[in-house]
Symmetry: C2
Subunit: 307 residues, 2 copies
Amino acid sequence: MKVTVLTGGVGGAKLVLGLLRVLPADAVTAIVNTGDDFRHIGLHVSPDIDTLLYTLSGKSNLAQGWGRADESWNFLESLRDLGGPDWFQLGDRDVALHVLRTARLAGGEGLDQITADIARRFGIGATILPMSNDRVATRLDTDEGDLDFQHYFVARRCAPKVTRIGFDGAETARPAPGVIAAITDADAVLVAPSNPFLSVDPLLAVPGIRAALVATAAPVVAVSPIIGGKAVKGPTAKLMEELGIRLANASIAAHYGDCIDGLIIHDGDDAPEGLAIARTDTLMHDDADKARVAQVALDLAARIAGR
Amino acid sequence: MKVTVLTGGVGGAKLVLGLLRVLPADAVTAIVNTGDDFRHIGLHVSPDIDTLLYTLSGKSNLAQGWGRADESWNFLESLRDLGGPDWFQLGDRDVALHVLRTARLAGGEGLDQITADIARRFGIGATILPMSNDRVATRLDTDEGDLDFQHYFVARRCAPKVTRIGFDGAETARPAPGVIAAITDADAVLVAPSNPFLSVDPLLAVPGIRAALVATAAPVVAVSPIIGGKAVKGPTAKLMEELGIRLANASIAAHYGDCIDGLIIHDGDDAPEGLAIARTDTLMHDDADKARVAQVALDLAARIAGR
């Protein structure tokens, strides 16, 4: 049994944690959005990959929702004293990862190799693949102008009104080694309850990934990010309204279209037609929640596959 | 009264601190060795400039002799966990300076501009000039092969036997803006009691600096690094022996030759002939020591100038 998950950061990491409670680690592959990656004071930061690395290794700051536990902030304080930018929070431990990754990228290694090596050092048994080793940058047309993802998300806290989302470099990006095979050869493919427009669409914009989802013999099941008719956290609801998309599972199903075969929806929410549906409480508070949502998704995949 | 000091790291920073106790800050310019500068995990580290910046701003770790006071080490610990190199100690606060400097250099700023800006932010009134904005790298031919300075000094703790010292890039390096003027226009030029071969020679290897020392109307006074017939610290004594140079003030005077007009020597040590001499206790423990050595050097300069 091999399961591949397409994922952004926090929400996706929870689903992967859930999978790791019901499957052996070597059965699980996460293909991670790198559209949020950016250069900050010369450092290559990969927010979603880092969220996976920290979450799956038990190093994440669960209360904060990002970054590392047991973190200190003397780097950032000193950077501020030096007149450096302090809008993006870089903890002392976290910055070591960015510095080393930046140096290794400059030395010619691929983001996939570096990520695999760090995952191994962190004792992570699951496979973490960046969607691409090539630069893809999520950009937003807003009422404050063209913004890169981190300026929209962190510096401006999603306040600007978004009119369009684009993925710079996606046209010529190649899927990272192993990405297409992980979709093609899987027994089930899941799409995490990450933001469909900001965190999953960059993945679908990399040539070959969408086609692989459509073509794979594996059932593809998405977990809807809508819970109780609302988006749990982040800019999903605001963004959908700005883009003129109704906040409903029908919209999520329509958005993913023929990429998915099934959708996991929250108890009581609208059930779109035309694809397989399973219901559960999709709010993932604790480990038992995560395992349950993962199992419901795997069960729906098995049902679609006629297993 | 304008005084310019040619300096390496720790010993030179003490002399500059002494000068700042007897002169107004805007009268003092330090021209700093950058031959120890190197790239470490992609970061541009300038050890001697940083020693000046931290010492003159009261941020240095006096007990340790390098780095910052009030430092933490989570970056280094995390770097080690990631399989990164841990032989060069990078504190959490210190690394902020390296990251920001690296980013600003990549953005096209000169090391001189960046250093001046940081000095201003640290409230340092003296002028700190890198000897050059161009790369000059001190390299050592040793019985363990060709080593760059930091590998010799930090990683190998000066254990290899040195047969020759060279300065990569020196032939084509240009003095940083203001360096030649600081020598030419000074009322006195001092050479700090830094290692003549490792810390001062790189300065003299930058085309134009040696000639400016010879040509300047200002008296040039060196403070000998020999105290009680020995070198206080660091590899000076071992290095001089390996290079076949007698550990004596006569050797220091011969080495600097016509670059200097006077030499400050420690009470009781040998007094070379052919140049002006003044004696004092040159061991700089406390602030009063530093001020005394600085004043003795300034007095000798005044005597040479016939003031």
